[in-house]
Symmetry: C2
Subunit: 339 residues, 2 copies
């Protein structure tokens, strides 16, 4: 075990309002490996998960997340193995994950961390049985509520949440249309993930294609994008349609043109509902149990896009805002330590 | 009884995409008074009600309302007294209202028409116990669901629906904030209608004022406007807030800048629900009974803005899109015929 603790730091916030994380937002320092105090333990991180939330940690979300000051260690979703422990409930060798320092090593009291359920490895625990899978589960099942035969559309379908949300909708018996950027991603959504069809928003007219593919209208829209994509689906929404606002990644990237078709919600009795993951914790146990069973029996295929090495972090973290990833973007920063 | 039937006609649709009804959209012809056939009756209209829907009749609503062709008799909400009847269920002297020719006289089979409930005059039947009052009732009670102590905001608060929606929210025990244009209207919303406070969007910063008036956030927003007003409320929406999309009059008038704050719905677990009046007909009987009782016992004060004379119709119909009216805009085109 090296005695250097590489840490990503917030060098500065994105310099222009319309910009996402620039490469120069990421600073990199070598620090000493910290010692856990009483009631604390030390984690050797092996993976970072690139969540849209990383943008929120740097920029802040009013009323939800204070922005990190320049010079702070960057926070993000990380997972690893405990290598020292002064905590009675956490043993050396235990795997944990959650929001912590994006660094080789992190100190924790366990607060806010989860363990992968027994029988699942760290990436599955972090992603499919973590925030990503649970956002898909809560958003699609509790809010979208697709019924057999419904037409369900998922935007950012090739993103971490999208690949799971689409598969959940298929399990519910829906006809599932993905919206993603690029012909290759769209092909993989059908061949590898199980979407019925995918629309390439970079090369196709989404409004016109939806009209062709769903002439009776879209019953459920699971939206991770917002903006023009939301407008295109609103034009094609069915009477009594339901829209789940899970994210709005088009707006994190640039302020955009806004959404112009809200009035269609009145014309077609549409319900649009947003949700903040952590306030639906009463649904986590059920979601983890069902998602876990689906992973085991192959009903849900996991799609991870794994960048290799600590230095790959900034590009991987920034890439999700331009859709560079296919499936959930992870960074593997180290081998698991052996004991 | 004169033998001339003055009819408003659609001279042309608004000529530019961003425009509302221009004065020149209204043509005016004198026709003969039609004779009712078997199963029909003839109505002598006394009132036109200026609904935002008049714009929809001329422009059309995709999937809902086909636009009227140039030269067609303008359709709109009208009410009057039956002067000839060949229909067993409708007698001379009966009062009826509904969408029909905007003309002195209209022929009907009764389909789609309502009668004012016993004990209520035609304006009350047309407005407070008609679409206007029922939109306020269904939107506020069924969808907004204000609880005692909630902060409720109503946009276009001085419009026909707004004056009733605000009073319903008061009856539910909420603290009710109106948004309207102009200091005089805002003063009247408080003094004449019973709003707790009103924000003048033409002279005040709506976002900042809402933050002052509702520091804990807005629990229910009943929206008739959309656009910038919706964005301002989204900034101030409470966690688990509910937004009712009843109308979007800012968008009928001009395409606008769009809505930019939809992502706040995810950050604060917000539900936004639109509704199309006619598909909530199962709620009409209850709504009419309760609204009627409230009118009788003075719990709801009716606010009508009545233009006088047939020729006043175009300006009255257009005025609601610029907020010229205080309360429901009606046109009184004739005295009630006496029998």
């Amino acid at each position: 075990m090296s005695d250097i603790n590489r840490q990503w730091q917030v060098a500065h916030a994105p310099q222009s309002e319309g910009m996402c994380l620039e490469r120069s937002c990421f600073g990199h320092v070598d620090a000493a490996i910290p010692e856990p105090g009483e009631g604390e333990f030390l984690i050797r991180n092996t993976h970072f998960a690139c969540e849209p939330l990383v943008h929120a940690f740097v920029r802040g979300v009013p009323g939800r997340i204070d922005p990190l000051p320049a010079g702070a260690v960057m926070q993000g979703h990380a997972g690893g193995v405990i290598v020292k422990s002064n905590h009675p409930d956490y043993a050396v060798g235990d795997r944990v994950h959650g929001n912590m320092d994006w660094a080789d090593y992190a100190i924790s009291t366990g607060e806010g961390l989860q363990r992968p359920p027994d029988g699942y490895d760290l990436p599955t625990g972090m992603i499919t049985l973590g925030m990503t899978g649970l956002c898909a589960y809560i958003g699609m099942f509790d809010i979208g509520q697709p019924k057999p035969g419904d037409v369900v559309v998922v935007s950012a379908a090739a993103g971490g949440i999208g690949v799971i949300a689409g598969q959940i909708a298929k399990l519910a018996g829906a006809h599932v249309i993905g919206i993603a950027g690029g012909a290759e991603k769209c092909a993989r959504l059908v061949s590898d993930v199980g979407y019925d069809v995918a629309i390439d928003y970079k090369n196709e007219d989404v409004t016109a294609r939806l009209n062709e593919l769903a002439p009776e209208g879209v019953n459920v829209f699971f939206d991770n994008v917002g903006g023009e994509v939301l407008d295109a689906v609103l034009v094609n929404i069915a009477n009594w349609g339901r829209i789940v606002i899970c994210g709005g990644i088009s707006g994190y990237d640039h302020p955009g043109m806004g959404v112009h078709n809200i009035i269609i919600m009145a014309q077609r009795n549409v319900t649009m509902q947003g949700f903040w993951y952590s306030e639906h914790a009463d649904r986590f146990d059920e979601g983890i149990a069902r998602l876990g069973a689906w992973v085991k029996d192959g009903s849900i295929r996991e799609v991870f896009d794994i960048a290799q090495g600590f230095e790959a972090t900034p590009d991987a973290a920034r890439g999700i805002f331009s859709g560079a990833n296919m499936g959930k973007q992870l960074v593997r920063i180290a081998e698991e330590p052996q004991f």
